[in-house]
């Protein structure tokens, strides 16, 4: 038996199970009909070069997607997603599923281009979003979707107007402003070198004028184009009657700029164009980092909304019809096919099936439901067609309320006031008042308007917010890069400060404290048997318990063979059954064994799996969800820091209690639905806590979104990662402890930096008020104060964790 790869998708399978085919004198291997179909389609279309471009990249085998195509041509769908251009062309934004590499992008664009009536098709490789423009007279949208599906991909529509367009636009505008700012300040820097050299070594006024004018030309676009954001922020602040960082930056930069023009025109004193551009550039870069990280949150929310069906099949008097979800009324009978997502809550009336409720409870085990059981929207029907009666309409169903809650909590996310903002608010008010008083005082004392003005402005210039502006970004930058090295990704710099202030940590159980999948705890072999039999049997099922057994066997035994089993039957919620060379193999839970007349030992607090050959019990396994390595230690260390740790879980009280005791958490809440978790977080907020929440599943998403800091595990659901503020790539609970330590250390550095820059001002401002400031003092003290802030921030790098010792 040799392994070989599928010609289309490059996945490796055993040769015996492949579909072999002679084609142009070559033997081709396919893992499934889908791959074979796509291969021939591409060959016929003359797109065979796709495989050269693909190289060794592995694809997902195409799955057969049929039906529901007609929904794309319905009017309601068109109204929601399609934009009509003035010249009659239609435009839609799609998320293409199944793109693995740039060859996939190439292929999709190519087939769309070939399609008659498609005017434009561009696909973004980074986020798999596509924009398609077509002529509705020549081709229908359903045909376009069908074409994408025919080559093994799938497409969902999404509404880009939601948030994405705006997010992309701000990102671009910031980027362009930064480029101008960097260009300006870098050029001014080398002009300033000549300036300073001239100050010490002597320079003719005519050369000084040339340098001044050149700096003026470079600084102007930086101040008014790049710095526009600060003027706008200052204006909004003025309207809301608050003085903020923007006010300080805007007033500082603008007054330095005006003073410099005055100095340039009158040929007296020194110009400060270099500090104008430096302030703008540094603070702008800090702001850009925030904007950059905000974009991601938007991408995957679109994905959930896009994958929600817009139509359901209802049955009225025996007639099936496709009805928009908004038109379903309570009492309608809805048909649900395997693989479909439930959008409307109801009660099962005919048939029985297993449901994947992982997006609601976080538990991976499918739930078996019979007549009379409640069906919750958001779950996915796994194995058979059922009928159920709608008990709620679409807008009040669980799934819709989750999506609504999510959108709400993302926009309403509590913002903890940043220390730097508070300080700079007072600081700028005080400085502005001092400057005004200085001007008034000098004017009164000397009677010279010009001299009073120069000294008044010099107060603002010397109090230049450079050090203050750099205090937070610099420390945060070092903190963020430190944490990134330890596989902790902080999405925004401000989260470090918020986390440092938090005194409460809420943890999800499954997937956060535990691994999230059952693994074998004890194995009891009652009679010797061929483990390959059990291996082959559990291999036929995708149930988490089977997977746990599979992983256990693979780690314990080296030589396992996969036998060709016959009569494989999966009995839902019970187990699997098959035969091999006349031997009857059964594996499953106690109820399944008892059904075949085997008495078993049911005493265990764990999930049990039995294996019997010809109705004789040969092995018994106890499985449970294992607790992640170092979880107890991490929880202990976090508690030592004075942080209250609570556990929130959708699981039952018993298993919640077991896990809580094992890791040393005394406060836990069990049986919580997604929105109840979020309510718990709100409750903590009311108690005045700043809440850090760690979770991984879709069921944690609302709670994550409403907490102050959300930590997601690296392999968690996309949505969970996108709403979270911190991502732990190595998924270790110890990283939560490390991020606490890092954020507290960074916050300390921020406080030190702010303290220093205030102290600097306490010394420098009185000198300026007294009129003692000359350019040498100004230049030296400005760069010195910035250097101290940078140097102090670098000290964060010396932070040691216990583990490193």
């Amino acid at each position: 038996m040799a392994d070989c790869t599928c010609t289309h998708c490059n996945l490796t399978f055993d040769e015996s199970v492949m579909i072999n085919e002679e084609h142009n004198g070559q033997t081709l291997h396919f893992c499934c009909r889908g791959c074979q179909g796509v291969y021939h389609l591409l060959e016929d279309e003359g797109l065979g070069t796709f495989y050269e471009k693909l190289g060794d990249t592995k694809l997902q085998p195409p799955s057969a997607l049929e039906g529901d195509l007609e929904k794309f041509d319905l009017e309601g769908f068109e109204k929601r997603y399609v934009t009509v251009h003035d010249d009659g062309l239609h435009e839609i934004n799609l998320i293409i599923e199944g793109i693995h590499c740039s060859a996939c992008v190439w292929l999709n664009e190519k087939v769309l281009h070939k399609l008659e009536g498609v005017m434009e098709a561009t696909i973004n490789y980074t986020n798999n979003k596509a924009k398609v423009i077509w002529d509705p007279e020549e081709v229908k949208l359903s045909k376009i979707i069908e074409t994408i599906r025919s080559i093994g991909y799938n497409a969902y529509p999404y509404d880009p107007k939601l948030q994405e367009e705006r997010a992309v636009k701000t990102r671009k505008s910031y980027y362009m402003r930064i480029l101008v700012a960097v260009f300006g300040s870098m050029n001014i820097m080398w002009l300033a070198v000549a300036h300073y050299a001239g100050y010490f070594g002597g320079i003719e006024q005519s050369f000084k004028d040339i340098l001044n004018v050149a700096e003026f030309i470079l600084a102007t676009p930086v101040l008014f184009y790049s710095g526009w954001i600060f003027f706008r922020g200052a204006y909004y602040g003025y309207k809301n009657k608050t003085v903020n960082m923007d006010t300080l930056v805007a007033s500082g930069a603008l007054s330095a700029y005006i003073y410099s023009i005055y100095a340039m025109v009158t040929q007296r004193g020194e110009v400060y164009f270099d500090s104008v551009t430096m302030i703008i550039t540094f603070v702008l870069v800090g702001k850009y980092l925030e904007v950059l990280s905000k974009k991601h949150a938007v991408d995957t929310l679109d994905h959930i909304i896009g994958s929600t069906p817009t139509e359901v099949t209802t049955i009225k008097e025996g007639v099936k019809s496709l009805v928009g979800v908004d038109n379903v009324i309570i009492g309608d009978i809805i048909e649900l096919k395997p693989g479909e997502k439930v959008v409307i809550d109801g009660i099962l009336t005919r048939g029985a099936a297993s449901f994947d409720e992982s997006s609601l409870t976080g538990e991976n085990e499918p739930v078996y439901k019979e007549q009379g059981d409640e069906i919750l929207s958001g779950s996915i029907c796994l194995d058979s067609t059922i009928h159920y009666e709608a008990k709620k309409d679409a807008s009040s169903s669980l799934l819709t309320s989750i999506v609504n809650l999510l959108e709400e909590s993302i926009t309403k996310k509590p913002r903890i006031e940043q220390l730097a903002n508070t300080v700079s608010g007072y600081f700028s008010t005080v400085i502005l008042i001092i400057a005004l008083l200085t001007f008034a005082g000098w004017f009164y004392a000397t009677g010279s308007f010009e001299q009073a003005l120069i000294i008044g402005i010099s107060v603002i210039v010397i109090a230049c917010p450079c050090a203050l502006g750099l205090a937070t970004p610099m420390a945060s930058l070092v903190g963020i890069s430190m944490s990134a090295k330890r596989n902790i990704l902080f999405k925004e710099a401000t989260f470090l400060e918020t986390m440092a202030k938090s005194r409460l940590l809420a943890l999800d159980k499954t997937g956060t404290i535990t691994e999230g999948k059952p693994s074998v705890q004890t194995e009891r072999v009652l009679e010797a048997f061929d483990f390959s039999l059990l291996y082959s049997l559990v291999n036929t099922s995708s149930h988490p318990v089977s997977k746990g057994i599979l992983a256990h066997l693979e780690s314990k035994h080296e030589k396992l063979e996969s036998y060709q089993l016959e009569d494989i039957k999966t009995i839902q919620a019970k187990g699997v059954e098959a035969s091999y060379h006349g031997k009857k193999l059964t594996g499953g839970n106690a109820a399944f064994m008892q059904a075949s007349g085997i008495t078993v030992d049911e005493q265990s607090e764990y999930t049990l799996f039995y294996f019997a050959i010809d109705d004789r019990l040969v092995a018994r396994y106890e499985l449970s969800d294992t607790i992640r390595e170092g979880a107890a230690e991490a929880v202990g260390m976090i508690r030592e820091m004075g942080i209250r740790v609570v556990m929130l879980t959708g699981d039952n009280e018993q298993s919640a209690k077991r896990v809580a005791e094992a890791v040393g958490i005394s406060e836990f809440y069990a049986r919580l639905l997604p929105d109840e978790k979020a309510k718990k977080i709100d409750q903590f907020h009311e108690e005045g806590e700043i809440v850090v929440m760690a979770g991984d599943g879709i069921n944690d998403t609302i709670a994550l979104a409403s907490s102050d800091i959300a930590i997601a595990m690296g392999n968690g659901a996309d949505v969970a990662i996108s709403v979270s503020d911190v991502v732990l790539l190595d998924e270790s609970p110890m990283s939560i402890y490390e991020s606490y330590r890092l954020s507290r250390r960074t916050f300390r550095a921020v406080k030190e930096n702010l303290g220093f820059s205030l102290m600097y001002n306490v010394v420098a401002v009185p000198l300026a008020v007294a009129g003692f400031v000359n350019p040498l003092v100004a230049a030296l003290s400005m760069s010195l104060s910035s250097l101290v802030v940078v140097g102090n921030s670098m000290r964060i790098k010396t932070l040691k964790f216990k583990k490193d010792k």
């Binding site: 992008v105 973004n124 362009m176 101008v180 260009f183 050149a214």
Partner: protein, 79 residues
């Protein structure tokens, strides 16, 4: 060194830099850097094929434009 030379040096170098900056800004504005991965990978897939593809799309647009014109004429008032 006379003032003229200094002005020339600063002027020319700043102008050249500014041209580069304007080119970059134009590229960002027209969305040429929106997709980092595609931007890098497109070099691999560039060739006669891509060119033919682009021409085909252009022709498609032209054809539609002409058809539209013809339609408008047919419905429009006689000259």
């Amino acid at each position: 060194m006379s003032e003229g030379i200094v002005i020339l040096m600063i002027g020319v170098s700043t102008l050249l830099g500014a041209l580069g900056l304007i080119g970059l800004l134009w590229g960002i504005k027209t969305g040429q850097f929106d997709d980092h991965s595609k931007f890098i990978d497109s070099a691999r897939f560039d060739g006669e094929d891509a060119l033919r593809d682009a021409v085909m799309m252009e022709e498609k647009k032209k054809k539609r434009h002409e058809k539209k014109k013809k339609d408008e004429k047919a419905y429009g008032p006689p000259d």
